[in-house]
Amino acid sequence: MKKLLSYIVLPLIMLTFFIAYHIKPVHALEIKAEINPAQIQLESYGQLQITVTGSRKADVSVPKIDGLVFKSSGTMQSMQVINGDTTISYTANYIVFPQREGRFTIAPITATVKGDTVTAEPIEVEAIPAGSRGTGNKTLSTEDTKTEDELAFLRFIPEKNRLYVGEKVFFQLKAYFKRDASELTLPVLDGDGFIISPFSKNPQQNQEVYNGKTYTVLTWNNTLSGVKSGTFPLRFNLDGTILLPRQQTSSDPFGSIDPFFDNFFSHRYQKVPVQLKSEPANLTVVPLPMDNQPDNFSGAVGQFSLLASASPINVTTGEPVTLRLTVKGNGNFDRVQCPDFPDTENFKVYQVNEDTTTDRRVKYFERAVVPKTVDANTIPSHSLTYFDPVQEQYVTTTSAPISLAISAVDERQKSSVAKASTPTVNPQVPQNDTDKQIKPLLFDNLAPQKLDSGSFTKTIKPVHRQLWFLVVFIILALGLVVLSFLVLRKKVSLKNPEMQNKKQNTMLKQQHIQAINDAKKSGDTDTIIQRARTALQHQAGLAAGISSSAVTATSLKQQHHVTQSQIELLQAAENYMFGGVLDGYATIEEFTDKVIEELENKA
């Protein structure tokens, strides 16, 4: 019966659900719209519910009504199976905020499903003054309810509305919230032609009075710059949710409001998604003047200062000096480039490393310069050209020159350094070779060339990649494995009584054989026979599972675990001991050899 259930009934149930879920709706498309309550106080809100029956998905269109604001608060899908009749539906919910008093007709609300359009009946809604009692049984929420625009809004406050291409303009973006807000995204720029720095994830938060009302304000301080000339609209968007009190239905049949229950038991809130948009601002981006634009202008716009420093300043020719240029100020530091080094004749100049502070107010350029001659006793001044948007002209700022104390490399010191690093002197280089040098050496303090080739190796592979190392390692690893196996085996055998007994018996047999051989050496026949008999008794006793002292040739004849030769040998030993005759064996040696052979075979 259980098998029947599991193999037939359960799959049938699952199939039913599957069909019910995937079956196409047989119902025609229907749309129903209702608003609750029909009378909404100003500074309050109502809920519009649009239900499309016969489809899981629909494109719902709510008309724009002057005096009403609709905000989507989510959608819902449902399926009902009643008496085998499946009904599916799609519900779109909106929050309705009245902007002024009056009666409004919401029509036509339409929904489109796969090309088919259905239209809902018009809905009447009335906006009444705040504080008045509606005819419906809806209660009003507390005094804190406001229209959405007053509950939360966004303000974009630029430092100025006219800027140059590349100029960084400071702006503030302030998000005002009357209610608790959550799930806020970072502001998003809505506009072409501008670049902004990333918004901080931790904006300033404070209380601010605006238009006579107190708000919680999130403030982002940021900069923007225009990338092309022209006038462009600019706004910011920010998504989030605010907490609004639910519209409560009074349990009082007379429609009265119980402040106690409203405040302490019925005062529940719901999250309402909102998208805040700042008022569009038109910013004008003007191009940089082309007249009198210096050749070395790299696009830096702002106000900058330039400072140069060098270290060390007491050097010999050929010794590097670290030159550091520091540019400070406000502006587009990404376009500030390192000024060219003016004197490449007396200095050898190396590549520049640059770094900018995290607040992007200071930029460093660091490079090594090497004085080639003693005449290179001054690092010349550097120039940085930028466009100053305040003065509206190009400005060139210059760093002060830096004096260096340059001394030539002492030849004696040079030779002593060479001798110290290499004890031998290059014999094949004549002394006057230095006189023949036309160009100065790039490095005059290097340890000299080696005169012998030294030892060669075919590879400079690390040792662990070389074959011999791997072979030795594998052998040792195998040794470790073998050792582990031996240790393990020993431990196992110590714990196994059968193996332990076997080992002890083997040892005992060896002792018996040794004892017989010792007796043979002494030549005492009685002792030899006695020891041989004891050994045979012990061996036979083990095989038969009886005590060795109880073993006799006669008793062994009834046992199946002993051999005929064992019985014969034991019989011969007993005959000798009790009768003094060694039957069946010519000599005592022959007898003992047979006994030892028998013992060893068994061992």
Partner: protein, 254 residues
Amino acid sequence: MNQIIKLLFTFIVIGMFSKPCLAKPALQTQALLEEANSAYHEQDYILAVSLYEQILKENGYSANILFNLANTHAQSNNPGKAVLNYQRAKLLEPSDPDIIGNLEAVNKQAGIFADVKPFFNKITNFFTFNGWCYLGLFSFSLLVTAGFALFFLPTLTRPMRSTAAIAAATMALSMYMASVSHHPYTSGVIIQPETPLLISPHEKASTNGSINEGRLVTLLKEYRAFSFVKDSAGRTGWVSKKAVEAIIPPSPEE
């Protein structure tokens, strides 16, 4: 017995830490070297480089020849190649003061300054990577030997236990130190000036900055004509294979 063990121990230690058996250079090599050195002193660096490279090609690698080749590259303003060959020479002769001194001078000239090494690095540098490997292998062999002795010679239990414990500890330390000092064997040197660090292995890919010639980078992987590298600042990116050369040169059979 003790004498035999001591003698065996001495042989093993000498064998482990001695330099590999190396072939003596031929007379022709010496003549080439003298010619190359002459070219160097006459500032004919192109000839000197070709002669040094010929010696290396014919005989294999030698710290002295690599050092001379590095000096030649340094004087001919190729800091990348100079650093590369100094690094190779340093792997063969890690404590040679000439190699260390010249490498520092070239780095300084190229604006490459060594990081300040913490005390731990000094311990790591007590041996080269190969030295730590030899010590690890020796400790391993000692451990296995002590293990067998413990098993088969129960009378030596006490000294063998101590030996095994010391060997195991030394082996663990060597393995750790070897893993820490393995860096030069996975590194390369940038040999072209201002090598762009590309974000993807294509010539037209955008750059993530550039790396100065002579900088050491870790070679992580390869894709066609590009190598994926990481520099000392932690930046990663693709560079052309022509712009970077591994410190461990490919062996002739590879």
